[in-house]
Protein backbone atom coordinates (compact mmCIF):
# COMPACT_ATOMS: atom_id res chain seq x y z
CA UNK A 1 0.00 0.00 0.00
CA UNK A 2 2.66 2.43 1.07
CA UNK A 3 4.78 1.73 -2.02
CA UNK A 4 1.81 2.06 -4.26
CA UNK A 5 1.00 5.40 -2.71
CA UNK A 6 4.55 6.63 -3.08
CA UNK A 7 4.79 5.80 -6.73
CA UNK A 8 1.41 7.35 -7.22
CA UNK A 9 2.63 10.46 -5.53
CA UNK A 10 5.87 10.61 -7.43
CA UNK A 11 4.20 10.14 -10.74
CA UNK A 12 1.37 12.51 -10.28
CA UNK A 13 3.08 15.12 -8.21
CA UNK A 14 5.61 16.12 -10.81
CA UNK A 15 3.12 18.31 -12.55
CA UNK A 16 1.92 19.99 -9.38
CA UNK A 17 3.99 22.89 -8.13
CA UNK A 18 5.14 22.89 -4.55
CA UNK A 19 2.18 23.89 -2.45
CA UNK A 20 3.52 27.18 -1.27
CA UNK A 21 5.53 27.99 -4.35
CA UNK A 22 4.65 29.95 -7.46
CA UNK A 23 1.03 30.61 -8.21
CA UNK A 24 -0.30 27.71 -10.21
CA UNK A 25 -3.07 27.54 -12.79
CA UNK A 26 -6.28 27.67 -10.81
CA UNK A 27 -7.55 24.31 -12.06
CA UNK A 28 -5.02 22.32 -10.09
CA UNK A 29 -6.14 23.87 -6.89
CA UNK A 30 -9.37 22.95 -5.19
CA UNK A 31 -9.21 25.65 -2.58
CA UNK A 32 -6.86 28.28 -1.32
CA UNK A 33 -6.87 29.74 2.17
CA UNK A 34 -5.63 33.31 2.07
CA UNK A 35 -4.72 35.21 5.18
CA UNK A 36 -7.44 33.55 7.18
CA UNK A 37 -8.16 34.85 10.66
CA UNK A 38 -10.78 33.41 12.95
CA UNK A 39 -12.17 34.56 16.27
CA UNK A 40 -14.25 32.74 18.86
CA UNK A 41 -15.74 35.91 20.30
CA UNK A 42 -12.67 37.85 21.36
CA UNK A 43 -10.27 34.91 21.25
CA UNK A 44 -8.32 34.71 18.04
CA UNK A 45 -7.91 31.03 17.12
CA UNK A 46 -6.45 31.39 13.61
CA UNK A 47 -3.84 33.95 12.64
CA UNK A 48 -3.16 34.70 9.00
CA UNK A 49 -3.34 31.13 7.72
CA UNK A 50 -2.34 30.48 4.10
CA UNK A 51 -2.90 27.03 2.66
CA UNK A 52 -3.35 25.67 -0.83
CA UNK A 53 -5.44 22.57 -1.17
CA UNK A 54 -4.58 20.49 -4.22
CA UNK A 55 -7.38 18.92 -6.21
CA UNK A 56 -8.03 15.23 -5.49
CA UNK A 57 -5.20 14.86 -3.02
CA UNK A 58 -5.14 14.14 0.69
CA UNK A 59 -4.04 17.10 2.74
CA UNK A 60 -3.31 16.39 6.40
CA UNK A 61 -3.22 18.90 9.24
CA UNK A 62 -1.15 18.07 12.29
CA UNK A 63 -0.04 19.96 15.35
CA UNK A 64 -0.32 20.02 19.12
CA UNK A 65 -3.69 20.00 20.83
CA UNK A 66 -5.39 23.38 20.76
CA UNK A 67 -3.34 24.72 17.84
CA UNK A 68 -6.42 25.34 15.70
CA UNK A 69 -6.65 22.30 13.40
CA UNK A 70 -10.34 21.71 13.99
CA UNK A 71 -11.01 25.43 13.86
CA UNK A 72 -9.39 25.68 10.43
CA UNK A 73 -11.15 22.58 9.16
CA UNK A 74 -14.52 23.84 10.30
CA UNK A 75 -13.99 27.11 8.43
CA UNK A 76 -14.15 25.13 5.18
CA UNK A 77 -17.79 24.19 5.69
CA UNK A 78 -18.70 27.25 7.74
CA UNK A 79 -19.57 25.15 10.79
CA UNK A 80 -18.66 28.11 12.97
CA UNK A 81 -21.67 30.00 11.63
CA UNK A 82 -23.90 27.79 13.77
CA UNK A 83 -22.71 29.49 16.93
CA UNK A 84 -23.13 33.16 17.76
CA UNK A 85 -20.16 35.44 18.24
CA UNK A 86 -17.74 33.80 15.82
CA UNK A 87 -16.11 35.81 13.04
CA UNK A 88 -13.84 35.27 10.07
CA UNK A 89 -11.27 37.45 8.37
CA UNK A 90 -9.56 36.73 5.04
CA UNK A 91 -10.62 34.31 2.35
CA UNK A 92 -11.00 30.70 1.40
CA UNK A 93 -11.26 30.63 -2.37
CA UNK A 94 -12.93 27.69 -4.02
CA UNK A 95 -11.79 26.58 -7.46
CA UNK A 96 -12.46 26.30 -10.34
CA UNK A 97 -15.10 29.05 -9.86
CA UNK A 98 -12.72 31.16 -7.83
CA UNK A 99 -15.26 32.24 -5.21
CA UNK A 100 -14.63 33.16 -1.60
CA UNK A 101 -16.56 30.62 0.44
CA UNK A 102 -16.45 32.85 3.50
CA UNK A 103 -18.85 35.13 1.65
CA UNK A 104 -21.07 32.42 0.19
CA UNK A 105 -24.28 31.18 1.77
CA UNK A 106 -23.21 28.54 4.35
CA UNK A 107 -25.93 26.16 3.17
CA UNK A 108 -24.55 26.28 -0.38
CA UNK A 109 -21.02 25.71 0.87
CA UNK A 110 -22.13 22.66 2.85
CA UNK A 111 -23.90 21.20 -0.15
CA UNK A 112 -20.47 20.98 -1.80
CA UNK A 113 -18.21 20.17 1.12
CA UNK A 114 -18.86 17.09 3.23
CA UNK A 115 -17.62 16.43 6.74
CA UNK A 116 -16.87 13.49 8.99
CA UNK A 117 -16.55 14.18 12.71
CA UNK A 118 -14.31 12.84 15.43
CA UNK A 119 -17.15 11.05 17.16
CA UNK A 120 -19.36 8.91 14.90
CA UNK A 121 -22.71 10.70 14.77
CA UNK A 122 -25.20 8.66 12.74
CA UNK A 123 -28.81 9.83 12.79
CA UNK A 124 -31.37 7.84 14.80
CA UNK A 125 -32.56 6.22 11.59
CA UNK A 126 -31.95 3.11 9.55
CA UNK A 127 -28.60 2.44 7.90
CA UNK A 128 -30.15 3.11 4.51
CA UNK A 129 -31.76 6.38 5.55
CA UNK A 130 -28.50 7.60 7.04
CA UNK A 131 -26.72 7.30 3.73
CA UNK A 132 -29.74 8.58 1.81
CA UNK A 133 -30.04 11.68 4.02
CA UNK A 134 -27.64 13.82 2.01
CA UNK A 135 -29.24 12.69 -1.25
CA UNK A 136 -32.77 13.51 -0.13
CA UNK A 137 -31.84 17.03 0.87
CA UNK A 138 -30.52 17.49 -2.67
CA UNK A 139 -33.87 16.41 -4.10
CA UNK A 140 -32.99 12.81 -4.94
CA UNK A 141 -35.99 10.88 -3.68
CA UNK A 142 -36.81 8.32 -6.38
CA UNK A 143 -36.17 4.75 -5.30
CA UNK A 144 -33.83 3.66 -8.06
CA UNK A 145 -31.22 6.42 -7.93
CA UNK A 146 -31.39 6.34 -4.15
CA UNK A 147 -30.77 2.59 -4.03
CA UNK A 148 -27.92 2.87 -6.51
CA UNK A 149 -26.16 5.73 -4.85
CA UNK A 150 -26.59 4.39 -1.33
CA UNK A 151 -25.00 1.12 -2.43
CA UNK A 152 -22.25 2.98 -4.24
CA UNK A 153 -21.48 5.11 -1.18
CA UNK A 154 -21.49 2.10 1.15
CA UNK A 155 -19.16 0.27 -1.27
CA UNK A 156 -16.97 3.35 -1.32
CA UNK A 157 -16.85 3.37 2.46
CA UNK A 158 -16.01 -0.38 2.51
CA UNK A 159 -19.13 -1.11 4.51
CA UNK A 160 -21.47 -2.60 1.93
CA UNK A 161 -20.67 -6.26 2.54
CA UNK A 162 -21.18 -5.90 6.26
CA UNK A 163 -24.56 -4.15 6.08
CA UNK A 164 -26.19 -5.12 2.80
CA UNK A 165 -28.55 -7.55 4.53
CA UNK A 166 -29.56 -5.14 7.27
CA UNK A 167 -30.02 -1.81 5.53
CA UNK A 168 -33.35 -1.20 7.24
CA UNK A 169 -31.98 -1.80 10.72
CA UNK A 170 -31.02 0.97 13.09
CA UNK A 171 -27.62 2.55 12.56
CA UNK A 172 -27.13 2.38 16.31
CA UNK A 173 -26.77 -1.38 16.07
CA UNK A 174 -23.42 -0.96 14.28
CA UNK A 175 -20.04 -1.01 16.01
CA UNK A 176 -18.14 2.24 16.48
CA UNK A 177 -15.89 1.58 13.49
CA UNK A 178 -18.85 0.63 11.33
CA UNK A 179 -20.72 3.74 12.45
CA UNK A 180 -17.77 5.88 11.45
CA UNK A 181 -17.62 4.26 8.01
CA UNK A 182 -21.37 4.81 7.77
CA UNK A 183 -20.75 8.49 8.45
CA UNK A 184 -18.12 8.50 5.71
CA UNK A 185 -20.62 6.87 3.35
CA UNK A 186 -23.19 9.47 4.33
CA UNK A 187 -20.74 12.26 3.56
CA UNK A 188 -19.64 10.63 0.29
CA UNK A 189 -23.09 9.82 -1.11
CA UNK A 190 -23.78 13.34 -2.39
CA UNK A 191 -20.35 13.33 -4.08
CA UNK A 192 -18.89 16.39 -2.40
CA UNK A 193 -16.02 18.34 -3.97
CA UNK A 194 -14.12 18.30 -0.71
CA UNK A 195 -14.36 15.86 2.19
CA UNK A 196 -13.31 17.16 5.60
CA UNK A 197 -12.36 14.68 8.33
CA UNK A 198 -11.65 15.70 11.90
CA UNK A 199 -9.64 12.94 13.60
CA UNK A 200 -11.96 10.31 12.13
CA UNK A 201 -10.14 7.37 13.68
CA UNK A 202 -9.31 8.70 17.13
CA UNK A 203 -12.16 6.75 18.72
CA UNK A 204 -11.43 3.51 16.89
CA UNK A 205 -9.30 0.44 17.38
CA UNK A 206 -6.31 -0.33 15.10
CA UNK A 207 -8.24 -2.65 12.79
CA UNK A 208 -11.09 -0.23 12.21
CA UNK A 209 -8.49 2.52 11.81
CA UNK A 210 -6.63 0.53 9.18
CA UNK A 211 -9.86 0.02 7.26
CA UNK A 212 -10.62 3.72 7.23
CA UNK A 213 -7.07 4.66 6.27
CA UNK A 214 -7.17 2.17 3.46
CA UNK A 215 -10.42 3.68 2.35
CA UNK A 216 -9.06 7.22 2.39
CA UNK A 217 -6.07 6.34 0.24
CA UNK A 218 -8.46 5.02 -2.38
CA UNK A 219 -10.89 7.86 -2.00
CA UNK A 220 -8.68 10.68 -3.07
CA UNK A 221 -8.81 9.63 -6.68
CA UNK A 222 -12.26 11.11 -6.86
CA UNK A 223 -12.51 13.57 -4.00
CA UNK A 224 -10.30 16.15 -2.36
CA UNK A 225 -9.64 15.15 1.23
CA UNK A 226 -8.57 17.35 4.13
CA UNK A 227 -7.91 15.41 7.29
CA UNK A 228 -6.99 16.48 10.80
CA UNK A 229 -5.05 13.89 12.72
CA UNK A 230 -3.10 13.57 15.92
CA UNK A 231 -1.41 10.51 14.62
CA UNK A 232 1.72 11.40 12.66
CA UNK A 233 2.14 7.90 11.27
CA UNK A 234 -1.35 8.24 9.92
CA UNK A 235 -0.55 11.56 8.27
CA UNK A 236 2.59 10.03 6.77
CA UNK A 237 0.74 6.95 5.55
CA UNK A 238 -2.23 8.50 3.86
CA UNK A 239 -1.59 12.12 2.94
CA UNK A 240 0.04 13.74 -0.07
CA UNK A 241 0.54 17.07 1.66
CA UNK A 242 0.89 17.92 5.31
CA UNK A 243 0.40 21.19 7.13
CA UNK A 244 1.91 21.72 10.56
CA UNK A 245 0.10 24.20 12.78
CA UNK A 246 1.09 25.82 16.03
CA UNK A 247 -0.89 28.27 18.15
CA UNK A 248 -3.26 29.32 15.42
CA UNK A 249 -0.57 29.74 12.80
CA UNK A 250 0.38 27.53 9.92
CA UNK A 251 4.08 26.91 10.51
CA UNK A 252 4.99 24.68 7.63
CA UNK A 253 3.29 23.13 4.66
CA UNK A 254 4.72 20.77 2.12
CA UNK A 255 4.71 17.42 0.39
CA UNK A 256 4.21 14.89 3.18
CA UNK A 257 7.42 12.96 2.59
CA UNK A 258 9.49 16.13 2.60
CA UNK A 259 7.88 17.49 5.71
CA UNK A 260 8.50 14.33 7.64
CA UNK A 261 12.00 13.60 6.37
CA UNK A 262 13.38 17.11 6.06
CA UNK A 263 11.26 19.67 7.90
CA UNK A 264 12.33 23.24 7.18
CA UNK A 265 11.21 24.65 10.54
CA UNK A 266 12.70 23.78 13.90
CA UNK A 267 9.20 23.69 15.46
CA UNK A 268 8.00 21.12 12.97
CA UNK A 269 11.07 19.04 13.53
CA UNK A 270 10.58 19.15 17.31
CA UNK A 271 6.97 18.12 16.95
CA UNK A 272 7.46 15.20 14.60
CA UNK A 273 10.36 13.86 16.58
CA UNK A 274 8.15 13.97 19.65
CA UNK A 275 10.04 16.66 21.53
CA UNK A 276 6.82 18.51 22.34
CA UNK A 277 3.13 18.42 21.56
Amino acid sequence: MQRQLNTLMNEQFDDIPAPLGEASPATELRAEVRNLDFWYGDTQALKGVNLRVADRKVTAMIGPSGCGKSTLLRCFNRMHDLYPGNSYGGEIRLFPEDRNLIEMDPGLVRLRIGMVFQKPNPFPKSIFENVAAGLRVRGINAKKPLDERVEQALQGAALWDEVKDRLQESAYGLSGGQQQRLCIARALAPQPDILLLDEPTSALDPIATAKIEDLLTKLHKSVTVIIVTHNMQQAARISNYTAYMHMGKLVEYGVTDDLFTAPREQMTSDYITGRFG
Binding site: M79, L82, G114, F117, F123, P124, V137, C183, P190
Partner: protein, 317 residues
Protein backbone atom coordinates in the same frame (compact mmCIF):
# COMPACT_ATOMS: atom_id res chain seq x y z
CA UNK B 1 -9.07 3.27 52.31
CA UNK B 2 -7.10 0.08 52.18
CA UNK B 3 -6.14 0.70 48.59
CA UNK B 4 -4.34 3.92 49.40
CA UNK B 5 -2.45 2.43 52.31
CA UNK B 6 1.08 2.25 50.98
CA UNK B 7 3.84 0.04 52.23
CA UNK B 8 5.41 3.12 53.74
CA UNK B 9 2.32 3.62 55.88
CA UNK B 10 2.49 0.05 57.04
CA UNK B 11 6.11 0.40 57.97
CA UNK B 12 5.14 3.37 60.08
CA UNK B 13 2.72 1.19 61.95
CA UNK B 14 -0.62 1.86 60.26
CA UNK B 15 -2.61 -1.39 60.15
CA UNK B 16 -3.80 -2.64 56.77
CA UNK B 17 -6.63 -4.85 57.99
CA UNK B 18 -6.42 -3.83 61.59
CA UNK B 19 -8.80 -1.89 63.85
CA UNK B 20 -9.14 1.37 61.88
CA UNK B 21 -9.86 -0.30 58.55
CA UNK B 22 -12.24 -2.83 60.03
CA UNK B 23 -14.16 -0.08 61.79
CA UNK B 24 -14.34 1.88 58.54
CA UNK B 25 -15.72 -1.10 56.65
CA UNK B 26 -18.26 -1.90 59.38
CA UNK B 27 -19.49 1.67 59.51
CA UNK B 28 -19.79 1.86 55.75
CA UNK B 29 -21.78 -1.37 55.62
CA UNK B 30 -24.12 -0.08 58.33
CA UNK B 31 -24.73 3.22 56.53
CA UNK B 32 -25.35 1.44 53.27
CA UNK B 33 -28.00 -0.68 54.92
CA UNK B 34 -29.68 2.26 56.68
CA UNK B 35 -29.74 4.34 53.50
CA UNK B 36 -31.19 1.53 51.46
CA UNK B 37 -33.94 0.91 54.07
CA UNK B 38 -34.86 4.59 54.15
CA UNK B 39 -35.02 4.83 50.37
CA UNK B 40 -37.05 1.65 50.20
CA UNK B 41 -39.52 3.07 52.74
CA UNK B 42 -39.93 6.23 50.66
CA UNK B 43 -40.56 4.21 47.52
CA UNK B 44 -42.90 1.83 49.32
CA UNK B 45 -44.90 4.70 50.82
CA UNK B 46 -45.68 6.21 47.43
CA UNK B 47 -46.65 2.84 46.01
CA UNK B 48 -48.83 2.13 49.08
CA UNK B 49 -50.66 5.44 48.78
CA UNK B 50 -51.40 4.77 45.11
CA UNK B 51 -52.58 1.25 45.85
CA UNK B 52 -54.69 2.65 48.71
CA UNK B 53 -56.42 5.15 46.45
CA UNK B 54 -57.17 2.51 43.87
CA UNK B 55 -58.44 0.24 46.63
CA UNK B 56 -60.86 2.87 47.94
CA UNK B 57 -62.02 3.66 44.41
CA UNK B 58 -62.81 0.03 43.74
CA UNK B 59 -64.27 -0.69 47.16
CA UNK B 60 -66.67 2.24 47.08
CA UNK B 61 -67.75 1.64 43.51
CA UNK B 62 -68.58 -2.01 44.17
CA UNK B 63 -72.02 -1.16 45.68
CA UNK B 64 -72.65 0.86 42.52
CA UNK B 65 -71.83 -2.03 40.22
CA UNK B 66 -74.04 -4.29 42.34
CA UNK B 67 -77.02 -2.24 41.13
CA UNK B 68 -75.86 -1.09 37.69
CA UNK B 69 -74.42 -3.64 35.32
CA UNK B 70 -71.05 -2.95 33.72
CA UNK B 71 -72.73 -3.29 30.34
CA UNK B 72 -75.24 -0.56 31.12
CA UNK B 73 -72.47 1.60 32.61
CA UNK B 74 -70.46 1.36 29.39
CA UNK B 75 -73.20 1.43 26.75
CA UNK B 76 -76.03 3.62 28.00
CA UNK B 77 -75.96 7.17 26.68
CA UNK B 78 -77.85 8.81 29.53
CA UNK B 79 -76.40 9.96 32.83
CA UNK B 80 -79.19 10.98 35.23
CA UNK B 81 -78.07 9.84 38.70
CA UNK B 82 -80.49 11.93 40.77
CA UNK B 83 -83.58 11.40 38.64
CA UNK B 84 -86.43 9.21 39.76
CA UNK B 85 -85.56 6.82 36.99
CA UNK B 86 -81.78 7.09 37.26
CA UNK B 87 -79.59 6.10 34.29
CA UNK B 88 -75.85 5.57 34.46
CA UNK B 89 -74.17 5.61 31.05
CA UNK B 90 -70.67 6.84 31.84
CA UNK B 91 -69.93 7.35 28.13
CA UNK B 92 -72.02 10.49 28.44
CA UNK B 93 -69.34 11.98 30.67
CA UNK B 94 -66.49 10.30 28.81
CA UNK B 95 -67.56 11.80 25.48
CA UNK B 96 -67.41 15.32 26.89
CA UNK B 97 -64.11 14.60 28.61
CA UNK B 98 -62.52 13.31 25.41
CA UNK B 99 -63.92 16.18 23.34
CA UNK B 100 -62.41 18.78 25.62
CA UNK B 101 -59.11 16.89 25.86
CA UNK B 102 -59.04 16.44 22.08
CA UNK B 103 -59.53 20.16 21.49
CA UNK B 104 -56.87 20.92 24.10
CA UNK B 105 -54.36 18.63 22.41
CA UNK B 106 -55.22 20.03 18.97
CA UNK B 107 -54.05 23.35 20.38
CA UNK B 108 -51.20 22.15 22.58
CA UNK B 109 -49.45 19.74 20.21
CA UNK B 110 -48.81 22.02 17.24
CA UNK B 111 -48.32 25.15 19.32
CA UNK B 112 -46.24 23.35 21.94
CA UNK B 113 -44.02 21.70 19.34
CA UNK B 114 -43.67 24.96 17.46
CA UNK B 115 -42.71 26.83 20.59
CA UNK B 116 -40.30 24.09 21.64
CA UNK B 117 -38.65 24.06 18.20
CA UNK B 118 -38.41 27.81 18.22
CA UNK B 119 -36.86 27.94 21.67
CA UNK B 120 -34.48 25.07 21.16
CA UNK B 121 -33.38 25.59 17.55
CA UNK B 122 -34.05 29.20 16.56
CA UNK B 123 -34.11 31.52 19.55
CA UNK B 124 -30.97 33.30 20.64
CA UNK B 125 -29.85 32.29 24.13
CA UNK B 126 -30.99 35.63 25.56
CA UNK B 127 -34.52 35.15 24.21
CA UNK B 128 -34.62 31.59 25.49
CA UNK B 129 -33.47 32.63 28.93
CA UNK B 130 -36.27 35.22 29.01
CA UNK B 131 -39.06 32.96 27.72
CA UNK B 132 -38.40 29.84 29.78
CA UNK B 133 -39.15 31.44 33.18
CA UNK B 134 -42.20 33.08 31.62
CA UNK B 135 -43.50 29.64 30.70
CA UNK B 136 -42.93 28.42 34.20
CA UNK B 137 -44.81 31.44 35.48
CA UNK B 138 -47.76 30.58 33.22
CA UNK B 139 -47.74 27.08 34.65
CA UNK B 140 -48.26 28.59 38.06
CA UNK B 141 -51.49 30.44 37.17
CA UNK B 142 -54.33 28.86 39.21
CA UNK B 143 -56.67 26.84 37.01
CA UNK B 144 -59.71 28.67 38.35
CA UNK B 145 -58.38 31.77 36.58
CA UNK B 146 -58.27 29.83 33.32
CA UNK B 147 -61.85 28.69 33.98
CA UNK B 148 -63.17 32.21 34.31
CA UNK B 149 -61.09 33.27 31.35
CA UNK B 150 -62.84 30.60 29.28
CA UNK B 151 -66.32 31.46 30.53
CA UNK B 152 -66.17 35.25 30.56
CA UNK B 153 -63.74 36.06 27.78
CA UNK B 154 -63.24 33.23 25.28
CA UNK B 155 -66.86 32.11 25.00
CA UNK B 156 -68.22 35.65 24.33
CA UNK B 157 -65.38 36.22 21.87
CA UNK B 158 -66.16 32.99 20.01
CA UNK B 159 -69.88 33.78 20.04
CA UNK B 160 -69.23 36.85 17.88
CA UNK B 161 -68.37 34.60 14.95
CA UNK B 162 -69.95 31.28 15.93
CA UNK B 163 -73.60 32.28 16.42
CA UNK B 164 -74.79 28.82 17.54
CA UNK B 165 -72.36 28.63 20.47
CA UNK B 166 -74.00 28.03 23.85
CA UNK B 167 -72.95 30.00 26.90
CA UNK B 168 -71.61 26.76 28.35
CA UNK B 169 -69.76 24.79 25.70
CA UNK B 170 -66.82 22.42 25.22
CA UNK B 171 -64.95 24.52 22.68
CA UNK B 172 -63.90 27.40 24.93
CA UNK B 173 -62.66 25.26 27.84
CA UNK B 174 -60.93 22.99 25.33
CA UNK B 175 -59.05 25.89 23.74
CA UNK B 176 -58.20 27.41 27.11
CA UNK B 177 -57.06 24.07 28.46
CA UNK B 178 -54.82 23.74 25.40
CA UNK B 179 -53.25 27.07 26.30
CA UNK B 180 -53.05 25.94 29.90
CA UNK B 181 -51.06 22.76 29.21
CA UNK B 182 -49.01 24.43 26.47
CA UNK B 183 -46.26 25.78 28.74
CA UNK B 184 -45.78 22.37 30.27
CA UNK B 185 -45.68 20.41 27.01
CA UNK B 186 -43.51 23.05 25.35
CA UNK B 187 -41.02 23.22 28.16
CA UNK B 188 -40.71 19.44 28.57
CA UNK B 189 -40.39 18.97 24.79
CA UNK B 190 -37.80 21.71 24.68
CA UNK B 191 -35.79 19.99 27.39
CA UNK B 192 -35.90 16.78 25.37
CA UNK B 193 -34.78 18.60 22.21
CA UNK B 194 -31.96 20.41 23.93
CA UNK B 195 -30.70 17.12 25.28
CA UNK B 196 -30.05 15.99 21.69
CA UNK B 197 -26.27 16.12 21.26
CA UNK B 198 -24.92 19.03 19.22
CA UNK B 199 -22.90 16.55 17.16
CA UNK B 200 -26.10 15.17 15.70
CA UNK B 201 -27.23 18.63 14.62
CA UNK B 202 -23.81 19.36 13.15
CA UNK B 203 -24.06 16.16 11.12
CA UNK B 204 -27.30 17.47 9.63
CA UNK B 205 -25.96 20.94 8.90
CA UNK B 206 -22.80 19.44 7.38
CA UNK B 207 -25.00 17.66 4.84
CA UNK B 208 -26.51 20.98 3.82
CA UNK B 209 -29.67 20.82 5.92
CA UNK B 210 -31.55 24.00 6.68
CA UNK B 211 -32.34 24.91 10.25
CA UNK B 212 -35.89 23.68 9.84
CA UNK B 213 -34.78 20.39 8.32
CA UNK B 214 -32.38 19.82 11.17
CA UNK B 215 -35.24 20.40 13.60
CA UNK B 216 -37.72 18.21 11.74
CA UNK B 217 -35.46 15.40 10.54
CA UNK B 218 -32.79 15.21 13.21
CA UNK B 219 -33.81 16.81 16.49
CA UNK B 220 -37.47 15.74 16.71
CA UNK B 221 -36.83 12.08 15.83
CA UNK B 222 -33.97 11.97 18.31
CA UNK B 223 -36.07 13.60 21.04
CA UNK B 224 -39.25 11.74 20.19
CA UNK B 225 -39.50 9.68 23.33
CA UNK B 226 -39.29 12.78 25.50
CA UNK B 227 -41.74 14.65 23.30
CA UNK B 228 -44.27 11.79 23.40
CA UNK B 229 -43.94 11.69 27.16
CA UNK B 230 -44.64 15.41 27.32
CA UNK B 231 -47.82 15.12 25.29
CA UNK B 232 -49.09 12.01 27.03
CA UNK B 233 -48.68 13.75 30.36
CA UNK B 234 -50.35 16.83 28.87
CA UNK B 235 -53.23 14.61 27.75
CA UNK B 236 -53.54 13.08 31.20
CA UNK B 237 -53.68 16.55 32.65
CA UNK B 238 -56.35 17.62 30.18
CA UNK B 239 -58.47 14.57 30.98
CA UNK B 240 -58.09 15.08 34.72
CA UNK B 241 -58.44 18.87 34.69
CA UNK B 242 -61.46 19.97 36.70
CA UNK B 243 -61.78 23.68 37.31
CA UNK B 244 -61.87 24.92 33.73
CA UNK B 245 -64.58 22.48 32.65
CA UNK B 246 -66.59 22.78 35.86
CA UNK B 247 -66.79 26.53 35.28
CA UNK B 248 -67.07 26.87 31.52
CA UNK B 249 -68.48 23.62 30.14
CA UNK B 250 -71.66 23.47 32.21
CA UNK B 251 -73.02 20.58 34.21
CA UNK B 252 -75.45 19.06 31.81
CA UNK B 253 -74.64 15.41 31.10
CA UNK B 254 -74.98 15.24 27.32
CA UNK B 255 -73.75 12.37 25.21
CA UNK B 256 -71.99 13.46 22.04
CA UNK B 257 -68.94 15.16 20.66
CA UNK B 258 -70.39 18.52 19.63
CA UNK B 259 -67.99 21.18 20.87
CA UNK B 260 -70.61 23.92 20.52
CA UNK B 261 -72.82 22.49 23.25
CA UNK B 262 -72.15 22.42 26.96
CA UNK B 263 -71.72 19.06 28.67
CA UNK B 264 -70.53 17.69 31.94
CA UNK B 265 -67.17 15.90 31.99
CA UNK B 266 -66.21 13.19 34.46
CA UNK B 267 -64.33 15.63 36.65
CA UNK B 268 -67.06 18.25 36.50
CA UNK B 269 -69.57 15.63 37.60
CA UNK B 270 -67.42 14.48 40.49
CA UNK B 271 -66.93 18.02 41.72
CA UNK B 272 -70.63 18.77 41.39
CA UNK B 273 -71.57 15.69 43.43
CA UNK B 274 -68.83 16.16 45.98
CA UNK B 275 -70.13 19.64 46.74
CA UNK B 276 -73.69 18.54 47.34
CA UNK B 277 -74.41 16.43 50.43
CA UNK B 278 -75.41 13.02 49.18
CA UNK B 279 -76.44 10.29 51.62
CA UNK B 280 -73.49 7.90 51.94
CA UNK B 281 -75.45 4.82 51.00
CA UNK B 282 -77.18 6.26 47.93
CA UNK B 283 -76.34 5.01 44.47
CA UNK B 284 -75.61 8.58 43.39
CA UNK B 285 -72.90 8.71 46.06
CA UNK B 286 -71.33 5.52 44.83
CA UNK B 287 -71.59 6.66 41.22
CA UNK B 288 -68.98 9.30 42.05
CA UNK B 289 -66.49 6.53 42.76
CA UNK B 290 -67.48 4.64 39.63
CA UNK B 291 -66.91 7.81 37.59
CA UNK B 292 -63.59 8.29 39.34
CA UNK B 293 -62.64 4.74 38.49
CA UNK B 294 -63.47 5.39 34.82
CA UNK B 295 -61.26 8.48 34.90
CA UNK B 296 -58.47 6.48 36.46
CA UNK B 297 -58.74 3.80 33.77
CA UNK B 298 -58.66 6.40 30.98
CA UNK B 299 -55.61 8.16 32.35
CA UNK B 300 -53.87 4.86 33.01
CA UNK B 301 -54.50 3.68 29.46
CA UNK B 302 -53.10 6.92 28.02
CA UNK B 303 -49.98 6.42 30.07
CA UNK B 304 -49.74 2.83 28.89
CA UNK B 305 -50.18 3.90 25.27
CA UNK B 306 -47.46 6.47 25.81
CA UNK B 307 -45.22 3.86 27.30
CA UNK B 308 -45.63 1.51 24.35
CA UNK B 309 -45.38 4.30 21.79
CA UNK B 310 -42.08 5.30 23.29
CA UNK B 311 -40.81 1.75 23.25
CA UNK B 312 -41.89 1.32 19.65
CA UNK B 313 -40.29 4.53 18.45
CA UNK B 314 -37.11 3.63 20.21
CA UNK B 315 -37.07 0.30 18.44
CA UNK B 316 -37.54 1.84 15.02
CA UNK B 317 -34.40 3.91 15.40
Amino acid sequence: MTSITTSADRDSGMPLYGGADARFLRRRALWNRVASYLLFLAAAASVLVTVGIVYVLIRDSLPFFAKVSLLEFLTDTQWTPVFENARFGVMTLVSATLTVAGIALAVAIPAGLGLAIYLSEYARPTVREAVKPLLELLEGVPTVVYGFFALLFVTPLLQTFIPGLSGFNLLAPGLVMGIMILPYTASVSEDAMRAVPMGLREAGYALGYSRFRVAAKVVIPAALSGITAAFILGMSRAVGETMVVAIAAGQNPNFGFNPLEGASTITAYIVQMAMGDLPHDSIAYHSVFAAGLALFVITLSFNLVGFFLRRRFREVY
